[in-house]
């Protein structure tokens, strides 16, 4: 809301600089967001919160200044001399959404340009001058906060006004020339046969005041805020009038606003004024709000005395009666926001000064609320990922549905159960994510395009699956992407990035003390976007919790990525968190020494190391403490279809020192078993 300081000074006396006035208003809850100087006057741009419709006018802001400074307000001088005894013919049919309609007619006006002072004021407040009659209605709206409308009386069929809903009308042309599609419930202003304005929103093209107009019917009415808001929203049409009506106008000011406009029109355009028609079928009854002294002091935490409160109530025009240890307040009709005791308390606090409320620390009884400790574990997980070299990214929760096709996600996959946004910002952001992978790929693209070649990123966020309930299933997921150049620098070890990212998962699981996890390959690749021969499922206690692998070459080229790119996904982080043991149990340190023996075998190239480890652990010996791989070799001196694998087995007993014989016997049993099960040949 723009407001001129010069104009304000017509209603209230103050000697404040524009800066001081801005500060006063801001600290009263009317935040001044900007100010500009126009022709020696200063125009403030004041942000008015939705509860303070009473401040959407010069007079309203002047009232605030008067209350804050404790100086009186000067109401505009209004005097109308009636020239005719007739009065307009007004009928309200839908009274529940039009509580009051007042009107006068001015015959024989000379429509023309407004004087310069009026044009300048309108323009300084962001409005365009049209003609003297229309300009006066706008001027009075800016001044007093009540929107008015002027009709060309001779274009009103039957020279009468009827207020009722649109019903079957269908279409209506507003004065901006647009054809609007109406719905049945919209409140309209009619003449004897057809609608002539959308009540409280905009007038019609056919009845507007033009240079050839001679007789004007002025409307000053109260329309129901909810009704106006619905109409305005449905039409996508917000006007200065609808903005004020939907926030609530002052029903008791209607006649004064009408008379102010009538007098000004007569002054600027001449004419003869009729008597007043004031249809007021649903009179305003102000609420009575009780508030106790103790409640005021208790809620604000201040020691304020009764007389200070009384002074504040007076300044704000809040009528009060003493009642017991408190007051019964009757707010003025322009303060519809005051309905409960706390509304009065806020007013007291505002004028007392929020800044005078002293800081205290609450005396609260401690109470632990059960239910949500996952955030701690999630913080641990993020910290572990950071220590493994991954940086956290946060992406929006939006998904471009075509990303699922790019990742070859099948039609019956859970990830196709998309939640759609009705009003997305862009089509590419029209769904909620069911997977974090596309976001990470986009992050990789951005970073590569900016010249970064090596990076490790992870995200831990919720994804959303549609289901047969009002709210979707929100699942916490984690995913990571690891990208390194195909040809690492000479000092980096030549291995696939896959093992870096897999190492991060293993490190994470060990850190969280998760046991019983494994990485399992099957004929079906774990994810359609992963390289089928360089990927596997992550399994905890027999349950697949995620997948890890190199990005499929076709996805790499589709996204125009470069380098060696691996990804892992944990599909249900809460399942992972459940697998974390609830406590750590100490195990006695070993008291007897270990014996180590190395094994070096030749096996077929396609035998996975996990299978060899599986064979050894299937022997179920209590004295095999660990099996540690230390070399894999293919190449010279080895048949092309074979690989050489070497590992160290550590033997230890918990209750005795092992003898060489004992160890040798078990060790040869292991070698025999490997020979029979996987065709291993002993080397060297």
């Amino acid at each position: 809301m723009k407001v001129s300081i010069e104009w304000l000074q017509e209603f209230v006396d103050f000697k404040l600089s524009p800066q001081e006035l801005s500060h006063l208003l801001t600290m009263a809850g009317l935040e001044v967001e900007a100010s500009e100087t126009v022709d020696g006057d200063t125009i403030l741009d004041v942000s008015i919160t939705p509860n303070r419709a009473d401040c959407l006018s010069v007079l309203g802001i002047a009232r605030e200044i008067s209350a804050n400074l404790g100086v009186p307000i000067r109401q505009p001088l209004i005097s109308v001399k009636e020239d005719e005894t007739t009065s307009p013919d007004i009928e309200i049919i839908d009274t529940e959404i039009c509580h009051r309609y007042a009107s006068r007619i001015i015959y024989g006006v000379r429509v023309g340009q407004s004087p310069e002072w009026l044009v300048r004021r309108l323009e300084a407040h962001g409005m365009r001058a049209v003609n003297n009659v229309v300009d006066v209605t706008n001027y009075v709206m800016l001044e007093m906060g009540h929107p008015l409308h002027a009709f060309d009386l001779n274009r009103l069929e039957g020279r009468r006004i009827v207020v009722k809903r649109a019903g079957d009308v269908g279409r209506f042309k507003t004065l901006d020339g647009e054809e609007r599609r109406l719905n049945r419930d919209m409140l309209m202003i009619w003449d004897a046969v057809r609608p002539v304005a959308i009540a409280g929103v905009m007038g019609g093209l056919d009845s507007e005041v033009t240079p050839s107009t001679t007789d004007v019917l002025l409307e000053s009415a109260y329309f129901d805020p909810v009704s106006v808001r619905r109409t305005s929203k449905a039409l996508g049409l917000t006007t200065e009038a609808s903005y004020r009506f939907e926030r609530g106008t002052d029903i008791e000011m209607i006649v004064r606003a009408l008379d102010r406009a009538t007098a000004l029109i007569k002054e600027l355009a001449g004419g003869r004024v009729t008597a007043l028609t004031d249809n007021y079928p649903i009179p305003y009854t102000p609420p009575e709000v009780s508030v106790s002294l103790q409640r005021i002091r208790g809620l604000l935490g201040i020691e304020i005395d009764e007389s200070s409160i009384v002074e504040i109530l007076k300044r704000l025009n809040l009528q009060y009666k003493k009642e017991g240890e408190g007051f019964v307040i009757t707010p003025p009709s322009f303060r519809r926001d005051i309905q409960q005791d706390v509304d009065v308390i806020e007013e007291v606090a505002r004028l007392y000064g929020y800044e005078k409320i002293p800081s205290t620390m609450p005396a609260i009884r401690l109470k632990r609320i059960e239910g949500n400790d996952n955030f701690r574990t999630i913080r641990l997980i993020k910290d572990a990922m950071v220590k493994a070299g991954f940086s956290e990214v946060i992406n929006t929760s939006f998904l471009n549905p075509s990303a699922l096709d790019e990742l070859n996600i099948p039609d019956n996959d859970r990830r196709r159960r998309l939640v759609h946004i009705k009003n997305p910002l862009r089509r590419e952001e029209s769904c909620l994510r069911t997977t974090l992978v596309p976001s990470l790929l986009n992050n990789a693209v951005l970073n590569q395009n900016r010249g970064e070649r090596a990076f490790s990123l992870f995200e831990l966020s919720r994804v959303f699956f549609d289901r047969a309930e009002a709210l979707p299933d929100e699942v916490m997921q984690m995913a990571a992407i690891h990208c390194r150049p195909l040809r690492p620098s000479i000092w980096e070890k030549a291995h696939n990035g896959f093992y870096d990212i897999k190492g991060a998962i293993e490190g994470l699981f060990d850190f969280l003390k998760i046991k019983g996890y494994s990485f399992q390959r099957s004929d079906k690749p774990p994810q359609p976007y992963l390289n089928p021969v360089r990927s596997c499922a992550i399994v905890i206690n027999g349950e697949v919790v995620g997948s890890v692998g190199e990005l499929h070459p076709s996805v790499v080229s589709l996204y125009e990525l470069r380098g060696d790119i691996s990804i892992f996904e944990i599909n249900d982080l809460e399942a992972l968190i459940r697998a974390i043991p609830s406590r750590i149990t100490y195990r006695q340190l070993p008291r007897f020494p270990y014996v180590e023996r190395d094994i070096s075998i030749l096996v077929n190239k396609d035998v996975p190391v996990a299978e060899i480890e599986g064979v050894i652990s299937s022997l179920n010996s209590e004295i095999i403490e660990s099996v540690r791989l230390f070399d894999i070799y293919t190449g010279k001196q080895i048949p092309p279809e074979k690989k050489s694998i070497a590992f160290t087995i550590r033997y230890r007993s918990s209750d005795r020192t092992l003898t060489d014989d004992e160890v040798d016997e078990l060790h040869s049993k292991i070698i025999d078993t490997l020979r029979h099960t996987i065709n291993a040949e002993l080397r060297g």
Binding site: D341, K387, F398
Partner: protein, 338 residues
């Protein structure tokens, strides 16, 4: 004889002090104290001396032997040290070469800030609760005293999933969800993502908020101020001043915008604070009795405060980040600064 002994002694001393290697020292030792050493031989022939000369001669001989042993030991220590010094000098390497490690990653600055804020409130006894990001219109608006068709809905541009389901526009619905399940005393913070249908130079459609609220029988607006002062001092330093301005939120009454003294100019006025010396950091207020009513609390029994802040905004002020869009871009070079 005695003269002879003395000259052996001085000769030995000279020889020991002039040896330069441990090997040479071993031969010097053999020459004097070995099986056929000069001193050893004289000790052996002690018995052939006349009895009256033995004590004096013997004593002197012993003294000389001890002295030589002492000198040998000293010299050995010195030579060993010199030896080690030489070896170490040959083994020196360039300590200015970079160390080997997998460099740590970085938490996203919003997470980092959120953790910091949560820790402050947890240290004051607050519990942490979360709620759904896709939320019923009821919890996001109606139970917070924002009915359908209320102009307060314009304060937040909302993404709709259906007429009754929205992407939550603030973390305040957690307030209602917690109050429906738990009775006071309550002190809770609720962090999480929120969504606004708004994207331009200074807005992103998804950001983080943290909501805090405290409900008991005698909570005052002064308490709200006290708690927020602790927060401001912890995050921005003890010199930070806070300022309450009247404002409007349907779910609090009285409501306040809370400013802190500008962290860039310390209140003297700059571009960030538009020369006012103050920057807005959060909204707060005393919980509206209608919210308690909606949660089913006994009317009039409890009071409470609530506040909500945008985490990215706090982060920007704290670290001097000027463009909010960086938070969703995930440029490695941005992330690595935190």
């Amino acid at each position: 004889m005695i003269e002879e002994l003395r000259s052996i002694a001085s000769l030995a001393e000279e020889e020991i002090q002039s040896t330069e290697t441990l090997n040479a020292l071993t031969s010097v030792k053999a020459k004097y104290l070995g099986k056929k050493g000069l001193i050893t031989e004289r000790i052996r022939s002690l018995r052939s001396l006349p009895p009256e000369k033995r004590p004096e001669y013997g004593r002197l001989l012993n003294q000389i032997k001890n002295r030589i042993e002492e000198l040998l030991k000293e010299r050995e220590g010195y030579l060993k040290e010199a030896d080690l010094d030489r070896r170490l000098k040959a083994e020196s390497f360039d300590v200015t070469l970079p160390g080997f490690c997998i460099p740590f990653g970085h938490l996203h600055p919003a997470t980092r800030m959120l953790n910091e804020i949560i820790d402050i409130f947890v240290s004051l006894g607050f519990s942490v609760m979360e709620g759904p990001e896709v939320e019923l219109d009821y919890y996001n608006f109606e139970a917070l005293n924002i009915p359908k068709d209320h102009p307060a809905r314009d304060m937040q541009d909302t993404f709709y999933i259906s007429d009754d389901v929205v992407l939550r526009t603030h973390t305040s619905p957690v307030q209602v969800r917690v109050m429906e399940k738990h009775t006071p005393p309550l002190s809770v913070v609720a962090p999480g993502k929120v969504y606004r249908c708004d994207a331009d130079i200074s807005h992103i459609p998804m950001f983080h908020q943290i909501e805090g609220f405290m409900v008991d029988e005698h909570i005052t607006m002064g308490d709200l101020r006290g708690v927020l002062e602790v927060f401001a001092h912890e995050v921005f330093g003890p010199q930070t001043a806070i300022r309450f301005r009247p404002s409007y939120f349907p779910f609090t009454e009285p409501s306040a915008e809370v400013d802190i003294s500008c962290v860039l100019c310390n209140g003297s006025g700059c571009r960030v604070c538009k020369n006012s010396g103050w920057v807005e950091v959060l909204g707060a207020g005393m919980i509206n009795p209608r919210v308690f009513e909606m949660a089913g609390y006994e009317p009039g029994r409890y009071t409470g405060f609530a506040f909500g802040m945008g985490v990215e905004r706090i982060t920007m002020l704290k670290y001097g980040i000027s463009d909010i869009r960086l938070f969703l871009e995930n440029d490695k070079r941005f992330l690595e600064q935190f």
